[in-house]
Amino acid sequence: MRKISTILAVVFSLIMGYSVQAQDDISPERKLAIDSLALEKVRDLSKYVSIIGNKSTPWSEANRVIDRAEELFMAGAEMGVSSLASPEVKYYNVRQYFERLMRLNYDRVEIEWFKIEYVSDLQRQPDGTYVGVITIFQKFSAYDKEGGLVYEDTTKKDITVYVKRKETQIGGRIIGFWDVLLGDIRVKETSK
């Protein structure tokens, strides 16, 4: 009886081991899909930042978009803010950052993100999370009532991206999904 239990335990551990191994080794096609998904989340954020910063966005709409944007981040993630006027980089909780962005004291604000690309590919960590860094360039332009440009800078920022496989139950079936969460957004350089 003891012998049978030992054999069963070995077989079970082999099956489980194979299953874990199968989960770990994702095909290049799946990896590519995950890479694209993470990039897409950063592009989504880019659009949200632009909507929140836009002075013509109604307050309620901007708040709704802040909620959506916040969902892209890990809890406690921070956003770096820089200015040409000071070498200091201030870090805010993402919710605070978006609320400050919404209330900027300009008549018109344009925020554009470009050159969104990986600087460090997604790498699998021992806990199964894939971590990578995506860099973006942000062009910030602020205008006064007369439409004159009063401030403009371009900031290079690095966004840490975390991708983890999770499961949830929907309609009685288990759905395996890749959860992409953005971490801190660090300012790398600011120029005119």
Binding site: I34, G171, F177
Partner: protein, 231 residues
């Protein structure tokens, strides 16, 4: 009149009818003989003509059957079948022609089966194409809403389209699953969202780059689950 003259006159009177009778018999014989000879040559001519015609048919049959066998003809299958039928109807008793007929019959049967198979395949392909088109089009109303929301020029228009689209769903919390890749028989999904959030997402991002993969409905024909796939 002397006796000798009388004798001559009497002989002449006896011979004349005999000569007339002989001439008549001779003429009948000649006519009969001449007729028989003419009939005999006509029959021979006809026989020769028939033989030539038969020989020509045999040659033609061999030529046509061989070209059908080696594929050098330019006939359609129906034309070949018609030609085969015609040649067979000649009932030529030539062994080579008979052998060729057997071979061509086999070949035409194969070609017919092949043509029928191709026709059936084409029919099934068209049927499948039509089914897929119908299948793809069945989600058109919803796809059109998604495209219209993403393409809305302003928030007001987008919100009107969202309100219209929401009518198709059982609740605003209907789950929306987005497949990001398919491999080895299972799907990889993005983080599940709700239809309310997804429609807002289309409005905010102004891009619809998915297509509908699967829809589940309740008894009221309202959508209870939506599965999309990245294009």
């Amino acid at each position: 009149m002397n006796q000798s003259n009388l004798y001559k006159m009497m002989t002449k009177q006896k011979l004349l009818p005999a000569i007339k009778q002989f001439t008549l018999v001779l003429m009948i014989a000649l006519v009969s003989l001449g007729g028989a000879t003419g009939c005999k040559s006509k029959k021979k001519l006809a026989q020769e003509q028939a033989a030539a015609e038969y020989s020509s048919k045999v040659e033609m049959a061999k030529k046509d059957l061989n070209s059908m066998l080696d594929g050098t003809d330019s006939w359609s299958l129906a034309e070949k079948e018609q030609r085969f039928k015609t040649i067979k109807s000649w009932n030529l008793e030539d062994t080579e022609v008979q052998a060729l007929l057997d071979k061509v019959e086999d070949k035409l049967a194969r070609e017919r089966a092949d043509a029928e198979r191709k026709t059936e395949e084409e029919r099934l392909r068209k049927e499948e194409e039509s089914r897929l088109k119908t299948e793809a089009n069945k989600y058109d109303p919803l796809e059109n809403y998604f495209r219209a929301i993403a393409a809305s020029p302003d928030q007001e228009t987008a919100n009107e389209k969202i309100a219209g689209a929401m009518q198709l769903f059982a609740t605003p919390d209907v789950p929306v699953l987005i497949i990001i890749s398919q491999a080895g028989g299972f799907n990889d999904y993005d983080r599940p969202t709700t239809i309310s959030k997804y429609l807002d997402y289309l409005k905010d991002q102004k891009v619809y780059n998915n297509r509908i993969q699967q829809v589940k409905y309740d008894a009221n024909k309202r959508i209870t689950e939506l599965e999309l796939i990245k294009k």
